[in-house]
């Protein structure tokens, strides 16, 4: 029995994120091939796959950093502004940037991609608020503080530059920045890779808490099955740019259908 995205949905409602038939190539390399993905409101969608499977490319496409050759992308947010109602790949550059700056949050594996290392941590969070038009210094401070607090960042260090912080703390700053504006969608690209195990657990726990408290829709990409298992409700398995299997998280881990998924799951320590 195969289950697809088109399996009958009785209860659940419209997906918040809807990507359809997306393909993206770099030269001769087809990084993402005809991929469709849905994420439903309040859900955590995990994307697993080995390096080069196209999962990070797909996430960057969701963040509109990369535009695919083909495909459509819709975000069905609460009171979606007119500008964001169509195929997001076809938006003009300005609308695209504003959408990313205000409604989509992202946490990169490499904090250098997401943070200004020499600015203060609170300033990194404030930047997003500033783009959204906040012009009161007191409000900026207060909101940055709230976001950092929600990410369980030690507030006494809120004005230290990320360059002086540990990897785990840098990820928290990224997270605070991502959630500062209550995004409709939170994208996580290997958020714990490279952190040592105890710190990894703390960051995962923070993510889980945030997800439960705020019901943020998340898409998390990782090659670490443990991370996906802890966080994701549903999992999408990618290989060589294609989706080989999607399913409920426990189904993927306990009863993988595709040979590749079985291999992947059995390879876990």
């Amino acid at each position: 029995m195969t289950l697809t995205l088109d399996a009958p949905r009785i209860i659940t409602t419209k997906p918040l994120l809807r990507i359809e038939n997306v393909s993206k190539s770099y030269g001769d390399v087809r990084a993402v091939r005809n991929v469709s993905a849905h994420a439903f409101p309040g859900e955590v969608l995990g994307i697993v796959g080995e390096s080069g499977s196209g999962k990070s490319t797909l996430l960057r496409i969701m963040n509109l950093e990369e535009l695919p050759e083909e495909g459509t992308y819709h975000l069905d947010m609460d009171n979606t502004p007119e500008a964001y109602s169509g195929n997001l790949f076809e938006m003009d550059r300005f609308a695209r940037r504003m959408l990313c700056a205000t409604r989509i949050g992202i946490v990169y594996q490499n904090p250098h991609l997401g943070l200004l290392m020499k600015h203060s941590s609170s300033g990194n969070v404030a930047e997003r608020l500033l783009v959204a038009g906040e012009r009161s210094f007191a409000n900026l401070r207060a909101k940055a503080k709230d976001a950092l607090d929600a990410s369980e960042f030690p507030l006494e260090r809120m004005d230290a530059p990320p360059a002086q912080l540990s990897g785990g703390m840098q990820q928290r700053v990224q997270l605070a920045k991502a959630i500062a504006l209550e995004p409709a969608l939170l994208l996580l690209d290997e958020p714990t890779t490279g952190l040592d195990v105890s710190v990894q657990a703390l960051v995962l726990d923070t993510l889980k808490r945030l997800q439960q408290d705020r019901q943020i829709t998340m898409v998390i990409v990782s090659h670490d099955l443990g991370v996906i298992r802890t966080l994701a409700d549903r999992v999408m398995v990618m290989r060589r740019g294609e989706v080989v299997e999607t399913g409920l998280s426990d189904q993927i881990f306990q009863d993988p259908q595709h040979p590749y998924t079985q291999q992947l799951v059995h390879a876990k320590l």
Binding site: M1, I10, I11, D233, D255, H266
Partner: protein, 239 residues
């Protein structure tokens, strides 16, 4: 009686691609369940009792057949419903109780017990109160309520898990040997809680190593051993 579940010709097997072989577990299982009914699954080791439970919960994908569940949103076939619908049903109407707790670092016992309530949109304080009550009932010492279950002994973790899984009344509960290695007091609490849920209309399908614990709850027995006929009235079956 209100029908809760119709299982029709459910078949499950595993394809082990790396070994290149097929593993049959059960074939053509059919039975139904009404609200408040308790069905015991019986069968030799390897007959597929736990597998059936997991298939009903959709942790396993069935090969064929239907699992028609009467949800509050209408009938839904758990065998082929969209993942997201199944996830929703799990949060609200379908429970799965094992003896193992999935503890998470830095989440206190009471918080983890309160979680199902919070997912069902119960206010945090109220949920925590109920959680503490449940922990009390299952005999977890109050000192431990705020502690992190990751470091608890197996027995204590199991109690926390039972408190968690049984806190929210569901339409259908799948019980996978929840009593195993449980001390007498907790077992008693569990049976009391199951009885209360059953009286409240929760249908249950259970696998028990020692069915004596729940003897008086059992309405029917389904035997999965292949040569047996599937359903029989409980009344005087020798266990």
């Amino acid at each position: 009686m209100t029908r809760i579940l119709d299982i029709e010709s459910l078949t499950k097997g595993f394809t082990l691609h790396h070994l290149g072989n097929e593993l049959e577990t059960f074939n053509n299982i059919s039975f139904s369940l009404d609200a408040g009914e308790f069905v015991l699954l019986k069968g030799a080791n390897g007959a597929g009792k736990s597998t059936l439970l997991r298939t009903l919960y959709r942790s396993y994908l069935p090969r064929a057949g239907k699992v028609r569940f009467q949800s509050s949103h209408g009938e839904i076939d758990l065998a082929c419903a969209a993942d997201v619908d199944v996830a929703h049903i799990r949060k609200t109407e379908l429970g799965f109780v094992t003896q193992f707790l999935t503890a998470r670092p830095r989440v206190s016992a009471e918080a983890i017990v309160a979680e199902p309530l919070r997912q069902a949109s119960v206010a945090t304080d109220e949920a925590l109160d109920e959680a503490r009550e449940a922990l009390q009932v299952f005999g977890v010492k109050p000192d431990l309520w705020k502690a992190y279950p990751t470091t608890f002994s197996g027995g204590e973790q199991q109690k926390v898990n039972l408190a968690r899984e049984l806190i929210l009344p569901r339409k259908l509960l799948l019980l996978d040997e929840p009593t195993a290695s449980l001390d007498a007091k907790a077992r008693e609490a569990l049976v009391t809680r199951l009885k209360a849920l059953k009286d409240g209309g929760t249908a249950m399908i259970g696998v028990f190593h020692h069915p004596d614990d729940v003897l008086h709850l059992i309405d029917r027995i389904v035997d999965l051993t292949p040569e047996y006929t599937h359903s029989e009235e409980r009344s005087d079956v020798a266990l």
